[in-house]
Symmetry: C2
Subunit: 308 residues, 2 copies
Amino acid sequence: MSDQFKRLALIGIGLIGSSIARGAREFGLVEEIAVQSRRAETVKTAERLKLGDSYTTSAADAVVDADLVIVAVPVGASGDIAEEIGPALKPGAIVSDVGSVKESVIRQMQPHLPKNVHFVPAHPVAGTEYSGPEAGFAELFRGRWTILTPPEGTDPKAVERVRAFWTGLGARVDTMAADHHDMVLAITSHVPHLIAYNIVSTAAHLEEVTESEVMKFAAGGFRDFTRIAASDPTMWRDVFLNNKQAVLEMLGRFTEDLTALQRAIRFGDGDALFELFTRTRAIRRGIIDAGQETAAPDFGRQHESGKE
Amino acid sequence: MSDQFKRLALIGIGLIGSSIARGAREFGLVEEIAVQSRRAETVKTAERLKLGDSYTTSAADAVVDADLVIVAVPVGASGDIAEEIGPALKPGAIVSDVGSVKESVIRQMQPHLPKNVHFVPAHPVAGTEYSGPEAGFAELFRGRWTILTPPEGTDPKAVERVRAFWTGLGARVDTMAADHHDMVLAITSHVPHLIAYNIVSTAAHLEEVTESEVMKFAAGGFRDFTRIAASDPTMWRDVFLNNKQAVLEMLGRFTEDLTALQRAIRFGDGDALFELFTRTRAIRRGIIDAGQETAAPDFGRQHESGKE
């Protein structure tokens, strides 16, 4: 049996689903793609963009005869989808997902999946601040990490095939326990999004500073937060509702540290500030060295001349 | 008298000073540029980069015969510089600066400046996460705002000449009271930097998540914070020490709002989260419409292919 999947079913065709569709086609990872969205309009858009070979609003219909099913919906909808597709899955099929939270997705989906399919939860740590099928592109996952969190007892061959699929999309692949994933992502992704959303909201509700001033003078740092805070509201609501414990834990640490920093400012402790501001530089160098960021000076936004 | 300045003295030749030097030369805004840095090595670098016409480590020497003096040093050093250059300033000269805090700079500098010079404090809201004379470029200020905060009684002609200089560098120019500037920048720049520094530091000190994991999986949002937290430590220490009141005020608002958001997560209030995450999108559209940001999907970092 070849490593290539014959039929891929994509449940949900937003930014991530449509990027998988484009990549899987472009890099020859599957023979056929069944595209599903619960919204008829989105299905039409996907069809116009030629993202698949068949199109439907029914998740159960989409998975018939698929040997790889990838659920790419907001994590709060995972359980319902699993319940719907469970009875329609082909024996031996591999079911995966792309959710930003893994313990909750496993808890929601696993009870509905028949014993004769393989469940390999996955999370590609990639995205943009845009959403919807038109926002996707084949190279989205190139060089980024996809984390697999197979529950204990998962067939290693199924894990290997999912790994090969993501490698085919250009991703690097790591494996870890679901609870550890949720803790790592709470600090590297979920809490950063929360504080970005929060400061944008704070800025919008001040009496002393007008909204128009906030927009005009955003180049001093604020605009980078607004980019993060432009991410899909449904997806992020579900992330926070479904990774509550880890997010609250990491948020507690963040607030504790911020309070110490606030105290250093209040008492004019310049040495403490300088020392902290110096240490944080090393982390950025590490991220660039890890190939997860470019070194180009982005505040200048030179790369997009003519657009400003 | 032509609007062009004959002799510009740049006190400090880091990212901002060197960008002014390059722009002033390239766009023909001055005839001569005197470059000063207190560090001999930096003076040498500036000379190698041909940023000026004369070079010195003495601020007093640099300002002799200058009709425009721009102090481009960390705001904590403004007072000492003013004291040093005060007696050497040419009568009728215009003294300006680029500090991110304006009330403190005025308080520090004004007492040392002779009555026969014009003091026009300025703040170009532009920068990159890099520092030093090599990081500067002539186009840094293009399309960005420069805020002038002339103290009451300042000669309008002097203000007009400084405005023309910044317009010549490609900037848009606004005028406001120093205390209002400090409040606006506290929310659009200072607090964003503080929380970026803070979360990077929090992430570096966790027991549950290794530093290497933080770096590997940074593409989920965290890396954007590290870029901001890579900014110059001396500059930012001075900003927080010198805009204490406004920063603490805005930080108080931020924390209050974050606590409410934390509570919404704890109690699973999805509607509150969704509503807030939706409202923040409008602000980003406003910033793009205001010409202070590009609409390109930056999380994908497509514009720098080949570097990753």
